[in-house]
C-alpha cells in the first residue's frame, strides 16, 4: 500500500463521478437483457417486486457500508435485524404498546447492539470480524430464546404491514404504487449519503478507513466515533428489522443468517473497498439492485435453481470485472 506505482489508480479521482454512472451501466445491461429475454420482466408489477425485494437487503447494505468504509465489517447484521424485529414484537404484541414505541424499540435495540459491537471493536480492540461474529451468534440465540423459537405475529397492531407494503405514492399516483418499503430504503440511503458526504461523522468514517492511526494522532477521539458509527449502522439494522417484520407480519426468530453475506456482497459490488477508506451509498444501492434484478430475472426466465446459482456467480464476477476494466481504461 505504498503510494509509489499507483499509476493504475491515478485517474480514479477525476473518473469517480463518471465511474458511478458506469457502474450503473452493468445494471442497465442486466435489465435490458432480461427485458429482451422475457416480456414478463419489464412489467410495472415485476419492477415493483424487484424494488420491494431490494428494500430489506438494501437497507442492511446501506448500514454496513458505513462500517466497511471504516475498514471494519459487520457479520451480525442479519441476526441483528431479526433480533430487532423480535424486540418490536415483544413491545407491540406482548406489551400491547402503540406503534411508535415499537419502531423505537427496533431502532433502539439495533443501536444498542451496534454500540456493543462498536465498543468491543474500539475499546476492547477485538477484530471486527470476531466481535461481530460473536454478536451474530449471540443475537441469533437470543432471538430464539426470547421468542421461545415461535414467531411473534403482529396481528394486534393495526396497519403494521403498511410500514413496508402500504404505498403512500400509490395513493397519489395509482399507476405507480411504489411500496413504502422502497421509499424507506431511499430515505435511509439519502440520509446516510448525506451523513457520509456532509457531516463530521461521515468525514471521520472515511478517515478511519483511510488511516486510523493518523486520525488518532490528529487528536480525534477515534474510539468514540467508531462506536457511534457502529451504533448508527445498528439503528439502520433496526429499520431493516421493521421492514422485514412488516412484510412477514411477524418476527421470525430463525431467519437472518446469510443476510449479512448478501448485504456485504451488494456493498462490494457497488465499488466500496473492504479495506476501507472508499465507498459510496449510490454504489451500494446499485449493487443491491444488481443482486435482486439478477435473482428475479433468472426466476422469471424459469432457469433451473441450480443453474441460477451458477449464473449469479458468473454475472457477479463479470459485472465487477467490467467495472474494473472501465476504471483501468479510463485514463
Amino acid at each position: 500500500m505504498t503510494d509509489i506505482g499507483i499509476e493504475r489508480q491515478e485517474a480514479r479521482r477525476s473518473g469517480s463521478a463518471q465511474q458511478k454512472l458506469l457502474a450503473f451501466a452493468s445494471l442497465i445491461v442486466l435489465v435490458a437483457g432480461f427485458s429482451l429475454a422475457s416480456p414478463r420482466f419489464f412489467q410495472i408489477d415485476n419492477i415493483l417486486s424487484i424494488l420491494q425485494a431490494t428494500s430489506v437487503n438494501g437497507v442492511l447494505a446501506v448500514g454496513v457500508t458505513m462500517i466497511i468504509i471504516t475498514g471494519g465489517i459487520d457479520l451480525s447484521i442479519g441476526t441483528m435485524m431479526t433480533f430487532t424485529a423480535v424486540m418490536t414484537g415483544v413491545v407491540l404484541t406482548w406489551g400491547g404498546m402503540p406503534l411508535p414505541l415499537g419502531i423505537l424499540a427496533a431502532i433502539g435495540t439495533g443501536a444498542a447492539c451496534g454500540l456493543i459491537s462498536g465498543t468491543l471493536v474500539a475499546k476492547a480492540r477485538i477484530p471486527p470480524f470476531i466481535a461481530t461474529l460473536g454478536m451474530m451468534l449471540v443475537l441469533k440465540g437470543l432471538s430464539l430464546i426470547v421468542t421461545g423459537t415461535k414467531p411473534i405475529y403482529f396481528n394486534g397492531t393495526e396497519g403494521y404491514t403498511l410500514i413496508s407494503q402500504g404505498s403512500v405514492i400509490g395513493r397519489m399516483l395509482p399507476a405507480f404504487p411504489v411500496p413504502n418499503g422502497v421509499l424507506i430504503l431511499f430515505a435511509v440511503a439519502g440520509l446516510v449519503a448525506w451523513i457520509l458526504g456532509r457531516t463530521v461523522l461521515g468525514r471521520y468514517t472515511f478517515a478511519l478507513g483511510s488511516n486510523e492511526e493518523a486520525v488518532r494522532l490528529s487528536g480525534v477521539n477515534t474510539d468514540r466515533w467508531k462506536m457511534a458509527i457502529y451504533a448508527l449502522a445498528g439503528g439502520i439494522c433496526g429499520i431493516a428489522g421493521l421492514l422485514i417484520s412488516s412484510r412477514l407480519n411477524s418476527a421470525q426468530p430463525a431467519l437472518g443468517l446469510g443476510y449479512e453475506l448478501e448485504a456485504i456482497a451488494a456493498v462490494v459490488i457497488g465499488g466500496t473497498s473492504l479495506s476501507g477508506g472508499r465507498g459510496t451509498i449510490l454504489g451500494t444501492l446499485i449493487g443491491a439492485l444488481i443482486m435482486s434484478v439478477l435473482t428475479n430475472g433468472l426466476r422469471v426466465l424459469s432457469v433451473a435453481p441450480e443453474w441460477q446459482t451458477v449464473v449469479t456467480g458468473v454475472i457477479i464476477i463479470v459485472a465487477v470485472y467490467a467495472d474494473q476494466l472501465r476504471r483501468r481504461g479510463s485514463h
Binding site: 420482466f41 423459537t149 422485514i244 407480519n249 411477524s250 428475479n296 422469471v300 435453481p305
Partner: protein, 289 residues
C-alpha cells in the same frame, strides 16, 4: 439410581416443526420420568454436523437415541457403534436404511404430498398451471414432498401443468420473492403448493403482495397458516403430527431401552385440514401455533 436418558438428534431445531417434535418428546419424558435432550444442526445440509452431534450423544452414554437422519447411509458407522454399545436407536421423521433402528416413527411424506396434489386438482377442477415452492432441493423431506406432489399430478391429472419448481430454503422472505417472480412470469397461474411452513407462508405473502387470486396449499401448521386458512386466503394444508412423532419416539426409546418389544413402524399419520375441519378436536390436537 440413574434416571434413564434419551438423546434426540433431529434435523434442525429452529423451525416450528422441530419445536413441536421437541414439545412432544419433552412431554413423553415427563410422563415416563426420563431425561430427554434435543439437538439438531442449523440446516438440513449439515450431515457432518449431525455426525458430530451423534458422537457427542454417544459420549453421554444414553439409554437410547432418537435420530432423524439427514443421510442415513452416511451415519451407518456411528449407528453401528451405538449398536455395539447396546444403545437402541429409534428413527424419527424419516427412516434409516438397514436393520439398526428398532423402530421408526415418521410421516409418509410421499403419500402426504400426493394428498396435497389431489386437493389441488380438486380446487382447480383438474386443469391449469401450477407451481411448487419447495423448502429444499436436497433434503429427504424436501425431495419426498416435491416428488410425491409432482408424481401424483403427472399420473392422475394430465391437464394440470407444473410450470415451475423453485426452492426457498424454508426462508419466508426468500419464498415470498420466489412466489412474486413466478406470478410475474406466469399471470395465468392457478395454484401454488408450498412444501413446509416457511415456504407456505412465503407463498401466501407473495400472493397477497401481488394481489393474485390463486389456490394456495400449504404444509405443516403454525399461526399464520391457520389464520390464512380461516380467512380463506389459503385453501388448506397438510399437517403431520409432530408432537406425536416426538412423543412416540421417546416412548419407543424408553420401551426399547427396557428391553420391551416395540412396533417396527409407528405411523404418526398426516391429515388434510381446511376451513371446514380446522377446529375439529382431532385436527386441532396435531396443529401447533
Amino acid at each position: 439410581q440413574d434416571k434413564m436418558y434419551v438423546a434426540l438428534i433431529s434435523k434442525g431445531f429452529q423451525h416450528q416443526f422441530w419445536q413441536a417434535v421437541k414439545q412432544g418428546a419433552d412431554k413423553a419424558g415427563a410422563d415416563l420420568g426420563v431425561d430427554v435432550s434435543f439437538d439438531g444442526p442449523d440446516n438440513e445440509t449439515q450431515v457432518d454436523k449431525q455426525m458430530d452431534m451423534l458422537a457427542a450423544a454417544l459420549a453421554k452414554k444414553p439409554s437410547a437415541i432418537g435420530l432423524a437422519a439427514l443421510d442415513s447411509q452416511a451415519l451407518i458407522p456411528q449407528l453401528k457403534q451405538a449398536q455395539a454399545a447396546k444403545i437402541p436407536v429409534i428413527a424419527f421423521d424419516s427412516g434409516v436404511e438397514g436393520d439398526i433402528p428398532v423402530a421408526t416413527a415418521s410421516t409418509d411424506n410421499l403419500a402426504a404430498s400426493a394428498l396435497a396434489a389431489d386437493k389441488m386438482a380438486e380446487f382447480l377442477g383438474g386443469e391449469g398451471k401450477i407451481a411448487v415452492v419447495g423448502h429444499s432441493q436436497t433434503s429427504t423431506t424436501g425431495i419426498d414432498r416435491r416428488d410425491g406432489f409432482l408424481n401424483e399430478i403427472k399420473e392422475k391429472y394430465p391437464k394440470i401443468e407444473v410450470i415451475a419448481t423453485e426452492y426457498g430454503d424454508g426462508d419466508q422472505l426468500k419464498s415470498t420473492e420466489i412466489t412474486k417472480a413466478i406470478l410475474a412470469a406466469n399471470p395465468d397461474i392457478k395454484g401454488i403448493f408450498g412444501t413446509n411452513e416457511g415456504s407456505a407462508i412465503g407463498v401466501l405473502n407473495g400472493v397477497r403482495e401481488m394481489g393474485a387470486k390463486i389456490v394456495v396449499i400449504g404444509f405443516d401448521s403454525g399461526r399464520a397458516q391457520k389464520d390464512a386458512i380461516r380467512d380463506g386466503s389459503m385453501a388448506g394444508a397438510i399437517t403431520q403430527n409432530p408432537v406425536g412423532i416426538g412423543y412416540e419416539t421417546v416412548k419407543a426409546a424408553v420401551a426399547a431401552a427396557k428391553g420391551e418389544a416395540v412396533p417396527k413402524q409407528i405411523d404418526t399419520g398426516f391429515y388434510w385440514y381446511d376451513k371446514s375441519n380446522i377446529d375439529d378436536p382431532k385436527i386441532a390436537a396435531v396443529l401447533y401455533d
